[in-house]
């Protein structure tokens, strides 16, 4: 399958900071790639290079088969970009925003007008279409921003932390929209710090940290890397933690992890739900009261922690170059 986005050896430095330190990317047509990493990992810089906003110091990139450095203006007519901020003009109405973007995509005024109407309807903004965008809620602005990126029906879209700053309800709604776009065949590259977001939206995930790709693969492949499932149990009585660890020992496939304060014990296991049932019976037999128990598959958070040595939420907020 043809690559919709290809980057080879991208390097970009800002002073002493190597924001991109030899990044390779390869996104097949119609795929959704999740670029996952903490603040300052280089995600935004990668997007800015691929969307022609920034020239890399080294490396090359192609989007939809067009060389980003040789023919930036041709690339621009093939992409849609949603940046970290909803880039809409607050003092224009929703409709005016979309028509302006359409005309700047070199559409004829009539076509831009028709496209704006279509998108406003599709994004549930028809009623608010003729209100100034500054009266819109955060979720509505995000939708308008996404609509603006879609004006030209771009075959390739870049979404830089599309759900940053949205409440859970709006985040969920946006996820559904993104899934629809993907289903309609758009190639998507989205950056995120939310591991569950990458897990849900992207089949292929590239993990970046300090400007380097540190892992790539599907969510399942990444999870498989740090081992299988584990049993998570919270016991009622702190004094019985030692006894509980002893009771779990025969079922553990590795060392138990104990958190004193929440009285939580985590042990790697193999055997799935059957083991869970055994563990419950065993603890019950020893009169150890259980507050909560579950079989947990590793999350991308665990993957991240094991790959980088620090959690995804760490890092320096606001320093994402």
């Amino acid at each position: 399958m043809r690559a919709a986005i290809r980057a080879v050896g991208l390097v970009k430095t800002f002073g002493d900071i190597r924001a991109l330190d030899g990044v390779d990317l390869d996104v097949p047509e119609g795929a959704v790639l999740g670029l996952l990493g903490p603040n300052g990992a280089g995600k935004t810089t990668a997007v800015r290079v691929l969307t022609t906003l920034l020239r890399p110091d080294a490396g090359s990139a192609e989007v939809a088969g067009v060389d980003v450095l040789q023919h930036p203006n041709r690339v621009r007519s093939l992409i849609g970009l949603c940046g970290q901020y909803a880039a809409v003009d607050e003092y224009l109405t929703g409709r005016e925003n979309l028509r302006m973007v359409g005309e700047l995509y070199q559409m004829r005024a009539r076509d831009a007008k028709a496209r704006a109407r279509e998108l406003l309807e599709w994004f549930g903004l028809a009623e608010a279409a003729d209100r100034l965008a500054k009266t819109y809620s955060g979720g509505m602005r995000r939708r308008l921003d996404l609509a603006a990126a879609l004006v030209a029906r771009p075959p390739v879209m870049f979404l830089d932390e599309p759900t940053a700053g949205l409440d859970p309800r709006h985040r969920l709604a946006l996820w559904e929209l993104i899934e629809t776009l993907a289903a309609q065949g758009t190639t998507l590259l989205l950056t995120t710090q939310y591991l569950e977001e990458a897990d849900r939206l992207a089949y292929d995930i590239v993990v970046v940290d300090h400007g380097r790709v540190i892992a790539r693969g599907s969510a399942d492949e990444l999870k498989a890397r740090i081992g299988g499932e584990r049993v998570d149990v919270v016991i009622h009585d702190r004094a019985l933690i030692g006894a509980a660890v002893a009771a779990l020992a025969p079922y553990a496939a590795g060392r138990a992890d104990v958190e004193q304060h929440p009285r939580r014990i985590t042990v790697p296991v193999s055997g799935g739900a059957r083991v869970l049932a055994d563990v419950i019976r065993e603890l019950d037999r020893r009169d150890i009261l259980i507050d909560d128990i579950g079989l947990r598959r590793p999350t991308l958070d665990d993957v991240f922690l094991s790959l980088t040595g620090h959690a995804a939420e760490e890092g320096d907020p606001g320093k994402d170059a």
Partner: protein
């Protein structure tokens, strides 16, 4: 309904045509956007008017009695200076405006679109020009009310207003470069404003230059701003037009045009280059 795409190659957008036609069209689209904003934030235009009107009243009534100018009233001497200062203050709006667009991510959106590279800046300065013309019109009416008069013909007066607008246009490109160079709209507002006071006061705008110390006179006579003020005095037939024996004061219309075109060429080139190479 497939809202997104029909796959790579099946996209509906025309390829960018490039060239002057596209530049003009894109600039117009951006200018229309900025003009719309002005009608929706009339406060900006209103406050933009209040300052020069206040200057007219303060200088005319408070200081006017103390300042003597040869060959006429101080009020008539003052008005061309206030007009020129008003259009020069377009710098502030231009720098704050583009800095705000950058902070809100709009510049990134524009830069990701297949539009003429210069159009975002050209469209914005075009809208500023329209605003300056409107402000000048209102200010001229206020000036007429306090006793300012045009003593030459209408063509001369129109010529003077065109010189003022050219100066304002050139200065809004200075503001554009300032705005592109700073990170926050607040910093851009201050930086756009701070140098305008010395520039407009170290000139012939408010007091006759021959009352200044010698070294300051040289600065005031060669100040680009003074050339336009002097040209306006000539063209309106206002007092204070008798020039000193320095070239810009002897040929103020030519000097005004040269200065403005030079500033325009230099700062539009620098601004577009900065915009093209990416802002931060």
């Amino acid at each position: 309904m497939a809202i997104a795409t029909s796959g790579v190659g099946g996209h509906a957008t025309p390829q960018p045509r490039g060239g002057v036609v596209q530049m003009a069209r894109d600039s117009w689209v951006v200018a229309r956007r900025n003009l719309r904003r002005m009608t929706r934030i009339p406060e900006i235009v209103v406050f933009g008017l209040m300052q020069p009107v206040m200057f007219v009243l303060l200088f005319s009534y408070v200081m006017g009695g103390a300042i003597k100018v040869p060959g006429g009233s101080y009020r008539e001497f003052l008005m061309p200076g206030i007009f020129a200062q008003t259009v020069a203050f377009a710098v502030e709006g231009a720098s704050a405006g583009i800095a705000d667009d950058m902070a809100k991510g709009l510049v990134d959106r524009f830069r990701s679109l297949p539009m003429a590279r210069s159009a975002v800046l050209a469209g914005r300065t075009l809208a500023d020009l329209v605003q300056s013309a409107f402000v000048l019109l209102v200010l001229a009416m206020v000036a007429l009310l306090v006793g300012w008069r045009v003593h030459q013909g209408v063509p001369e007066a129109l010529g003077a207003f065109l010189l003022l607008l050219l100066l304002g246009h050139a200065f809004s490109w200075i503001g554009t470069l300032i705005g592109l160079s700073l990170r926050t709209p607040e910093a851009a507002t201050s930086a756009g404003l701070i140098w305008l006071f010395p520039l407009t006061f170290l000139s012939n705008a408010f007091v006759p230059v021959n009352t200044m110390p010698g070294w300051l006179q040289a600065i005031a006579y060669w100040n680009p701003f003074s050339a336009t003020v002097q040209a306006c005095r000539n063209l309106f037939g206002n007092p204070g037009a008798e020039g000193a024996h320095v070239w810009p004061m002897q040929h103020p219309v030519a000097a005004s045009m040269l200065w403005s075109l030079l500033i325009l060429a230099l700062f539009s080139w620098l601004s577009v280059r900065k915009y093209r190479n990416g802002v931060g």
